[in-house]
């Protein structure tokens, strides 16, 4: 038996019931992590996670697995740093091997204005306790010998910020770690159960409708990705969300030899090597809103072009597979977490291109919110009503990036 199989823990499936204290819609990382923390931190186990397809079938299984906290506003740095900390202990906490690997992230600058942004990033990150330091071209070359510092003569590397603690983890295994941990404590996970609507008592949400019957709930949480606008509309909740495709591709496997994650805000692309040796390459999300998960060759072509300037050796590598997820981008590029105008209905969305790295902290905070009926301080800035109160959370330095 191979090590990937050997190290999996059991998923305990349960017969569904018609009523739960909490029903979480969406069996991705955020939904399952919330269930896990409800069970482990708050002893709330009468919980169902309802998934339209199989667990991790949405963006949790389609992302590029990067975990980082080098954001541009203190509120985000604090939140994502906490998420990174939770990731570090997740293997011990759950007993599941998630292939967590701290490799550092190098964020390249080719212009003076980009250097200025990276210096600013380092300042604020450091002040918030996140280790991000400026590195010069010689240091970059040491960290990543494969890089062409002239950017093929077109994108000379002036410097970079080095986010030392950035890491990757196997996306599926993060989903399963939370799933098995929650299921072991009695949380029900219902796969292949599309939710078709919400049960309402006036403004209050009292449960969900599914193809196989209604399920009543004390609290319904939406951890839906991709279809969240349509789903929240059942509760009469309007969202500041646009859904865009986000594409990526991998090469065939190669021996380990590429250390850090390389990211570039000007070329809007990033490269890392997976635990299986594949080079994983992505770029910014598609400009137009779309719910399609069809990949495009335009993406492959433009992304391949961008990374080739900086890492010419990549041109030799064989592309194996490309894929597309749907990402929900909020009006101010920050997540939306917390209560909604509909009582009994809470939401976690707006994860854009950075939902994977937020799974532990997002799940932990939403569990606390549900358990205590109070918004935890760490996610207070990300509430849905921030737009009405003129507290939008625009993080310029992190838009269009992973």
């Amino acid at each position: 038996m191979n090590e990937f199989v050997e190290t999996l823990l059991d998923l305990h499936w349960h017969e569904p019931k018609s009523s739960y204290d909490v029903v979480i819609v969406g069996g991705g990382g955020h939904g399952l992590a919330t269930a896990y923390y409800l069970a482990t931190r708050h002893g709330i186990t009468n919980v169902a996670v309802v998934e339209a397809n199989y667990i991790g079938s949405g963006n949790s299984g389609r992302n590029t697995t990067i975990i980082r906290a080098n954001y541009g506003i203190p509120e985000s740095i604090r939140f994502y740093q906490h998420s990174m900390d939770l990731y570090k202990t997740l293997e011990d906490d759950t007993g599941c091997w998630i292939m967590h690997n701290t490799k550092g992230l190098i964020w390249l600058a080719h212009t003076e204005s980009a250097m200025r942004s990276e210096r600013a990033r380092c300042q604020l990150n450091t002040a918030m306790g996140t280790e991000t330091i400026m590195v010069d071209p010689a240091e970059i070359k040491q960290l990543c010998p494969q890089i062409d510092l002239t950017g093929s003569g077109r994108y000379p590397v002036l410097g970079a910020s080095h986010h030392v603690g950035a890491s990757t983890a196997r996306h599926d295994r993060v989903v399963w770690a939370y799933a098995q941990g929650a299921m072991r404590l009695g949380v029900h996970v219902l796969q292949n159960t599309p939710v078709t609507g919400l049960l309402m008592d006036g403004d209050r949400v009292t449960g969900v409708k599914t193809a196989t019957g209604n399920i009543s709930a004390g609290v319904v949480m939406s951890a839906v990705g991709g279809d969240v606008t349509q789903f929240a509309a059942h509760a009469g909740v309007r969202l500041p969300i646009r859904t865009h495709p986000l594409q990526a591709f991998v090469t065939n496997g190669y021996a380990q030899g590429f250390g850090p994650i390389i990211s570039d805000t000007e070329l809007l692309s990033y490269v890392s090597q997976t635990a299986r040796g594949q080079m994983l390459i992505g770029a910014e999300y598609d400009r137009q809103q779309s719910f399609s998960r069809q990949s495009s060759f335009d993406f492959l072509q433009s992304c391949a072009t961008k990374v080739s300037y900086l890492l010419p050796f990549l041109k030799n590598l064989r592309i194996m597979r490309q894929w597309t997820g749907r990402c929900d981008v909020s009006s101010d590029f920050s997540p939306v977490m917390g209560f909604t105008p509909a009582p009994g209905f809470v939401i976690t969305t707006g994860w854009g291109t950075w939902g994977f790295k937020a799974i532990p902290a997002g799940g932990e905070a939403m569990a606390e919110l549900i358990a205590t009926d109070t918004t935890p301080e760490i996610i207070e800035p990300f509430s849905l009503n921030r737009f009405a109160t003129d507290h939008s959370m625009a993080d310029q330095g992190s838009t269009g990036t992973r």
């Binding site: 942004s117 062409d148 077109r154 590429f258 990949s295 391949a304």
Partner: protein, 745 residues
Amino acid sequence: MTDISDGQPQVEVRSSATPAGRIVIDNQPIEFFAGDTVAIAAIRAGQHPATGGTLCLAGDCGNCCAIVDSTPWVRTCQTKAKPGLAVLRQPAVGAPALNLTPPKSAVSSPIAAVIDVRHINADVIVVGGGASGTAAATQASADGHTVTILDANEGNEVVGIYAGPTVIVRTPEGMRHFHAHEVIVATGAADLQPACEGNLSKGIYTAGAAATLAETHIELDNALTVTSQPVRIVADDNGWVSGVVTADADGNDVLSDCNSLIVDLGHMGRDLLSRMTDERAVTIVGPAAEHYPLPPCPTSGIVCSCSKVTVEDLDGVWLRGFNELELVKRAALFGTGTCQGGVCMPYLRSFVADRAGSVPEPFTARPISRQLTIGEASAGAYADNFRMSPLHDEHLKLGAQMDRFGGWWRPWNYGDVLGEYWAVREAVSLGDVSTLGKMVVSGPDVVEVLERLYPNNVHDIKVGRSRYVLLLNERGHLLDDGMICRESETRFVLTFTSGGASFAEMWVRDWVETWGLDCHILDRTTSLAAINVTGPLAGELLRRVGVAEPPKFLQHRHETVAGVPCHIMRLSFTGEASFELHHPVHRSVELWQTLMAEGRALGIKPHGLQALFGMRLEKGHVIVGMDTELDSSPRRIGMEWAVKMGKPYFVGLEALKRVEPLPDHRRLFGFTMASPAPVEGAPIYHDGTIVGHVSSSFDSPLLGKAVMLGWIKREPFPDTVTIDGRTATVSAPPFYDAEGRRARA
């Protein structure tokens, strides 16, 4: 044929043809014949082209992948042998090393097209030149269509079918993008491979592969054909097949000796190309579209040969509760190698059907269907389009360090930032501001348009005068800033920032069209260059080049300067008297050279962005996008004076009214402190907590201290803060010439 390396004498060359050349496999030369692929040449020489596994010789599996001319993961069955080709078998365990030697094409910029790329508009594309493809092509032709057949055997490998439908093809001549009306997938059927113990041995061929070998006059040595799943394949110490165990009618194991094993186990439709697209104009015909019976559930050995997944692994994940086809795939990492499930999918479905009791759908097909290198994928694309001012070469001649800013190349400095600064403050300096957005608007409704676009008043701007304006979005947040110059009652010139220019044209056109107002728009950003003549002696320099009476502050007019027609705008971003000379792009060099020559006696020096950023900071001028954030309202940056809330309407007014009663909790302030200036981005502390950050900072040579702009995002706003461990004082800008005397001088 003699035995070489670990091969065995299992083949006989029946052709009397002479070899066409030699290739090198694992440092051993072998001969090949005209038309041979690398795999066939290897088999002819008694070798397995890779490290083992059943060969299909049709590009379906990944069992023949090797490192060919330094590129790993090349399907040797689809690679023509060429004299001197170097083939290395990939490691049996682990993966080939990353080849860090850039290909020749990477030595030059990727911008140079190394791989030929063509976009071809096509009517009907038929993928596959076999019987079903030929039939489909004949029919389409008879229906009056122009048909293109793409056959992998002719070297035209279809990489993927995308929306459009667009068919991406790798050909020996380069990449071809066919934009078709209709695509017919006629890719035929692939042979099932054995899924049993020993199936990674050498010397196993599918029935199709055996037929291909027969066509190339290779006769397999002591070959045996099985038509049902073997119980076990037996191999010798070198990994070559030595026998096969099958079950007889009574279910007893029977061992038969053989040196080559041909497996004829049935087929699966090659439907990957049609399944990877939801394009309606793609149809699938012939054997590719047929439903073949699933093979019996595998019981032993490796099922997914790319990822080396065994039946034991599948059972392992199944017993752990991963009982969905997709979960099994992901947990066992099944079908995620080179063939992408291309040959192993039926076995996975058969396994899940056996355990779950119902037949699952195949897992999602994702592009690409044939391996492509990143270099091939990138061919013909460009990442960016950098623009150059007409003065680019002048800057280089003057020793400028160029930087890209807002999509343009711009002088960052000329090697003497302090000298550039003092030239502006004490003498005269030139700045290249060709990159500014410039637009002419004219029409009966033009005042109405501008009153709606800008939060400031427009109607009271006199002809020949100009005004600084903010541009807001509907959220009441800053998009850009610039000048409005009135040329007549119904004609204005607008300027925008360099970074905002492209967006500004879209913005203005969108609103004018939406409002249905009568107003012509002409964007002149790339038609006009602009030179900013700035400094206390700027007026004198203009007089010396023939401008008898330079315009006064916030005046503008059209006048010929040194023989070049100019639109002169008097304003000030540096804090000194400044004249922007907007002029035709092709006259820019002569104007620049004249000004530099005439200014020599006045101590002229050009200045770059670096000095400019410092000088404007002394004046407290905000740079949109640097000091402002995506959600900065005029109030937050202290520019409410540029907003007339009493106007009946402007873009953003409703939002500003909506948030007006809400508490003001974020604000951009000026700060001063002793030098050295803290790094831009430095956090601002108050009472030990972070309350904001510095957005720009500068060590003012003139003031002898650091001046800053920065955000405080927590109430109540303090009077002193701590930056960089030192005390800074909140101090309302401008820090220099608060009365603006110098700008007006």
